[in-house]
């Protein structure tokens, strides 16, 4: 049997037409037809997303009206997207250096502690097969809750992402050496930013 006709393949995906027994047996045995069906399925899914993503004119009007909110300079006013910078207050590598430990700069595990007025973020950075593993804990004054933890590249794109548990603990494996921004997002409340986190 030659390949299924395009009409059959398109109807199977876009009209949800059931393939006959013979046609289905052919598809099961034919990588080319399976591949085409897979690509059509992907296209159909993207078209569904495109329809659901299409902004209504009323929504566009609302977004465009936000031009009035554009801040040209930093503002002390309340912002929807509050961010607070956490500062490094303790680095175990620094302590080892002060104690004269020569291997302090080598790739060994180390602890970092960052703090804001309300929150502390403790990180344990461990070498992990040419990469690093970070385990951490977010300690907040009020009731802890799950948080979203992101490591960003210099352009603000997410490189790694994980969630903390309800106790504020999290872990991320396979982090490449480098310099990252780190953000901790809560369901409500400000985002905590560690602006420069050197992993090496």
């Amino acid at each position: 049997m030659s390949h299924l006709a395009p009409e059959q393949l398109y109807a199977a995906i876009f009209d949800h037409t059931q393939l006959g027994e013979v046609e289905q047996q052919h598809v099961d045995a034919c990588p080319t037809c399976r591949r085409t069906l897979g690509q059509l399925e992907e296209l159909a899914q993207e078209l569904v997303v495109a329809r659901k993503s299409r902004p209504a004119q009323a929504a566009l009007d609302r977004y465009q009206a936000l031009f009035d909110e554009v801040e040209r300079l930093p503002s002390p006013l309340s912002r929807v997207w509050q961010q607070i910078s956490a500062l490094l207050v303790w680095d175990s590598r620094r302590q080892l250096t002060l104690q004269g430990v020569r291997s302090a700069a080598a790739a060994t595990a180390y602890r970092l502690l960052y703090a804001t007025e309300q929150t502390e973020v403790e990180l344990l950075v461990e070498p992990d097969d040419h990469h690093f593993r970070i385990r951490g804990e977010i300690i907040v004054a009020d009731a802890p809750a799950p948080m979203l933890v992101q490591w960003l590249d210099a352009g603000g794109a997410i490189r790694y992402e994980t969630n903390s548990n309800a106790e504020g603990q999290f872990a991320q494996h396979g982090i490449a050496p480098g310099v990252y921004g780190m953000s901790i997002v809560s369901a409500s409340g400000p985002t905590i930013d560690i602006e420069r986190l050197e992993i090496m």
Binding site: Y63, R72, T162
Partner: protein
């Protein structure tokens, strides 16, 4: 405030880089903001839409993202990476919305500082960041490919697949003034043309 001469969106201005748009917005050009919103609203919506949020929630996410953008424009270090900033921010807004909606911790494998498994770690309800960027790019490629179709095909595909009212074939026949019986075969030909355009862009990654 001195306002800059507003943008009038023309095809050449659609090629303006994100950095230029951001710069004009910061200089008080409302036209640049309109162009920026028009360019990125669909892509911002595609993130929550892909993960099953309702239409109202999708618009709530869009509102929060563009409000955050309006308040953060002057802080974006590399405005040409605006799409990455938008993906990051949209994911955060989606996560917050989903978090508030569920508030139900799930099990996942993770370790605390003491090395023991975390009992209540959350599995992210969102896909990986790489997948989000890939998804974002696929939507952009789809819409660029649509723009390259002939007018007739573009209209037909938009009506069949993109119109939120999902018109039936009778309505499509009336609106495009084509026989109802020809809609199916024409749709297939147009989809084939769309696939041909997308294959030039490596839409499926394996063509």
């Amino acid at each position: 405030m001195i306002m800059k001469e507003p943008f009038v969106a023309s095809p050449s201005q659609l090629e303006l880089t994100p950095a230029v748009l951001v710069e004009h917005c910061l200089q008080g050009d409302a036209g640049a903001w309109r162009l920026l919103v028009a360019r990125y609203a669909r892509l911002v919506h595609s993130v929550p839409a892909r993960y099953g949020l309702s239409s109202a929630e999708v618009e709530d996410v869009g509102q929060d993202v563009f409000l955050a953008l309006s308040q953060s424009l002057h802080t974006i270090d590399d405005p040409d990476r605006l799409p990455a900033w938008l993906v990051t921010t949209t994911r955060r807004v989606c996560w917050r919305l989903l978090q508030r909606r569920t508030e139900q911790p799930l099990d996942a494998e993770a370790e605390g500082l003491d090395g023991h498994p975390l009992p209540n770690a959350l599995i992210s309800p969102l896909p990986t960041p790489e997948a989000a960027l890939t998804d974002w790019n696929r939507q952009a490629l789809l819409h660029e490919a649509m723009e390259r179709l002939g007018e007739r095909c573009r209209e037909l595909i938009a009506l069949i697949f993109l119109d939120p009212h999902e018109p039936n074939y009778d309505e499509i026949s009336a609106r495009l003034n084509i026989p109802k019986g020809s809609i199916g075969p024409t749709r297939r030909r147009c989809l084939q043309q769309l696939r041909a355009q997308l294959s030039q862009d490596d839409f499926n990654g394996d063509d």
